[in-house]
Amino acid sequence: MARRPRTSDGRYQSAECRVPSARCSNLLRRAGAKRLMDDTGTIIAFWVLAAITVGAALGVVAVRNLIHAVVFLILSFVGVAGLYITLSADFVAVTQILIYAGAVSVLILFAIVLTPRGDRGNQETFLRLPALLLALLVAFTLGYVAIDTNWAISDRKGFEETASVIGEALLDKYVLPFEIASVLLLVAMLGAIVLVRPEATMEETGE
């Protein structure tokens, strides 16, 4: 059977037209990455996802039941993953879902189950007003800086494939942080296990 042609950097040809027509190749070319994100689909996607994310974050603040707050937090994580996809960051989006929505959320839920029933409300401390003022101040400061600064926007189109470049960077330029991160994870795992081990182990092994 015929070998599939590979592009110059070793990837497979992603899509081809069975009939070499100008229409088909135009479609493929336009379906590639865009520079300015000004088409209707991206705009609608951004606003819907931003609304979901911020709405879910406000839900975490507002609901009275802690488990419901965690569910809203999960929704917020998924919303952020959607925003990553609008920014053509496919690898990071999938990693976000895998780790945040799949693992960190389960950790938080387990911690809620292992802590007392009386403390499952979601009320605020006595410092709620200063905290609110501080949060609003931070929001306005960051927003003002974001709008007022003259960012060096580039002409680059969106990324084609991020996973291979991220992988190469992790093993080439950032190999030291990569190794340190793995040691950090090991230490965190061991620390968590040691912290929650029951104190009755001495009696058990003594039997």
């Binding site: 975490v60 603040v61 931070v138 968590a192």
Partner: protein
């Protein structure tokens, strides 16, 4: 009408401030942790937005940093939740208003 860097930065700023409010004002320890996770997410979103829009010789370094932040956030969540369980065992509560031994 297009979606620019500023839009993403403002979403990130709003998420960060909501996370900050949660971390400062929630009475439940797990609630504080949820605020911290939201702040991590906001920071990641800002990194990815910058990596997409801003001129740079290595634009995907932003994504690499986000991978590291996600890793460290997961490790920190595990440790903090182990601390929450231990805290319940020692002080019989996870209400941060009642864990004030250091207050004078």
């Amino acid at each position: 009408m297009s979606v620019d860097l500023e839009h993403y930065l403002i979403v990130g700023a709003v998420l960060f401030s909501i996370g900050l409010y949660l971390a400062l004002a929630k009475r439940n320890f797990v609630g504080v942790l949820m605020g911290i996770e939201l702040m991590f997410n906001a920071v990641n979103l800002t990194f990815v937005a910058f990596s997409r829009f801003v001129e740079s010789p290595n634009p995907l370094d932003g994504h690499v940093f986000v991978v590291f932040v996600i890793t460290v956030a997961a490790a920190e969540a595990a440790t903090a939740l182990a601390l929450a369980v231990l805290l319940y065992r020692v002080r019989d509560t996870i209400d941060v208003d009642r864990i004030d031994l250091l207050k004078w």
